[in-house]
């Protein structure tokens, strides 16, 4: 195995490992203890919900992989802020709307779509849409739309627990703010990693392969959720 190939393997293995570990741990339901806590809350609890939101985002590899895909080719910080804001607007809308409006969706279906959003973005990154269909769907619109699905996914996670009506809005806002805090933390890590990698020549050489691995990861996430839907719904 040549050095270049070894480097390639080294660069894509973590993504795959993350996906596998994540899949085995199953799609991030809150820990049993957290769940028991959430159900016992009757009234506003700003910081616990803030923490849970941030934890969900930092440990939610499906959201993280999607963000990696989105900012993979965004070199300007202005673009990063723009796209991440669109994603944030999208998922905040459906998170609040889903929980406050008590709109239920099957968590496996939503999570499967979230998995596919990772594959979609990776396919977009390798120029798949232009090449195969002649035109590329508006990337800003796509991020917004998938943001809506990601928010719906967050909402279904929170709705799995019988939440008290008392302090619901405060708690949901706290959870949402926590999600954004977690997103900023995660994004900082991803940006540091990407910026470092971009300074090397290996970045463009392995960009294609990395996005293909991202696609695999997205398909695995989606496949796992489809299995969950088939067996548990």
């Amino acid at each position: 195995m040549s050095i270049a190939r070894l480097r390639l393997v080294a660069s894509v293995l973590p993504v795959l490992a993350l996906t596998l570990v994540g899949t085995v741990v199953s799609a991030h339901p809150m820990d049993d203890q957290n769940a028991a806590f959430v159900q016992s809350i009757d009234g506003p609890a700003i910081f616990p919900f803030l923490y849970l939101g941030a934890k969900h985002m930092v440990t939610g590899y499906d959201h993280l992989l999607f963000l990696v895909g989105v900012i993979f080719f965004l070199y300007k910080i202005r673009d990063v802020v723009l796209y991440v804001s669109l994603f944030t607007v999208g998922h905040s809308l459906t998170l609040m709307w889903g929980v406050l409006g008590d709109i239920g969706a099957n968590a496996y279906v939503v999570d499967a779509i979230i998995g596919l959003s990772v594959a979609y973005k990776a396919f977009d990154n390798v120029g798949g849409f232009e090449r195969l269909f002649g035109r590329r769907p508006d990337p800003k619109g796509a991020v917004l739309v998938f943001g809506l699905f990601h928010g719906f996914g967050l909402a279904t996670k929170v709705q799995e627990f019988t939440l008290s009506e008392v302090g619901l809005i405060t708690n949901m806002l706290s959870f949402n703010v926590g999600v954004e805090v977690g997103q900023i933390l995660a994004l900082t890590m991803v940006l540091i990693g990407l910026t470092y990698w971009r300074s090397r020549t290996s970045f463009l050489r392995h960009a294609f392969a990395t996005n293909v691995v991202l696609m695999v990861a997205g398909f695995v996430l989606a496949g796992n959720q489809i299995l969950g839907y088939v067996f548990y719904s």
Partner: protein, 189 residues
């Protein structure tokens, strides 16, 4: 803005996409399905030992002897009583108690070797009944404190069944007063 600088050919793109789907299917059917759902269509679960991951083990064998106790505890107004049990870590019991009136109670436990007065509290309320299952998080003394906060005589009937090694009813302390504190140093209510 083009996403990639070196744009792949249609052939390599199609290959990569189909390949990604195939690898994903291989992972899902070869690893996730046997490990998470106990199904092994490709036989990889048996070969790699992944099938064992999906086997839920609902039984915990007990080391200590099984015992059941039914006790009636009488409490005059303002009187209190403790029912404590010795549990090894991981041993459990199911319990059910009913009182003829509302009592203030607290289920707590103290690990062996903890400082005097230290206890962790799991359930503290005012109620006339509670039913549940308890698994000891550590080896030590575990049990209830009940206090009659009303003005009438109250009888509590308590049924416990499980793998505790001793049961003890306590109504007084050497110090003559109760100074239990939880992990945060707050007095137990």
């Amino acid at each position: 803005m083009t996403p990639t600088t070196d744009r792949p050919s249609t052939k390599s793109l199609a290959l990569a996409t189909v390949g990604a789907l195939l690898v994903a299917a291989l992972i899902v059917f070869g690893a996730v399905l046997p490990a998470e759902y106990g199904l092994d269509p490709l036989g990889t679960g048996r070969v790699l030992g992944l099938l064992a991951l999906s086997q839920v083990q609902p039984i915990t064998m007990a080391d200590s002897e099984y015992r059941t106790d039914v006790v009636d505890l009488e409490l005059a107004p303002t009187e209190w009583v403790e029912s404590s049990y010795r549990f090894e870590e991981g041993a459990g019991m199911v319990y059910s108690w009913k009182a003829t009136g509302e009592v203030s109670y607290n289920f707590h436990s103290a690990p062996d070797g903890a400082p005097v007065g230290y206890a962790e509290s799991y359930d503290a309320q005012v109620s006339d009944r509670a039913d549940g299952a308890y698994t000891a998080p550590f080896t030590g003394t575990h049990g209830w404190y009940w206090e009659n906060v009303g003005t009438e005589y109250i009888t509590i009937q308590l049924t416990t069944a499980g793998f505790y090694t001793s049961a003890h009813e306590g109504r007084s302390r050497a110090s003559g007063e109760r100074r239990l504190r939880d992990a945060r140093g707050q007095p137990l209510r």
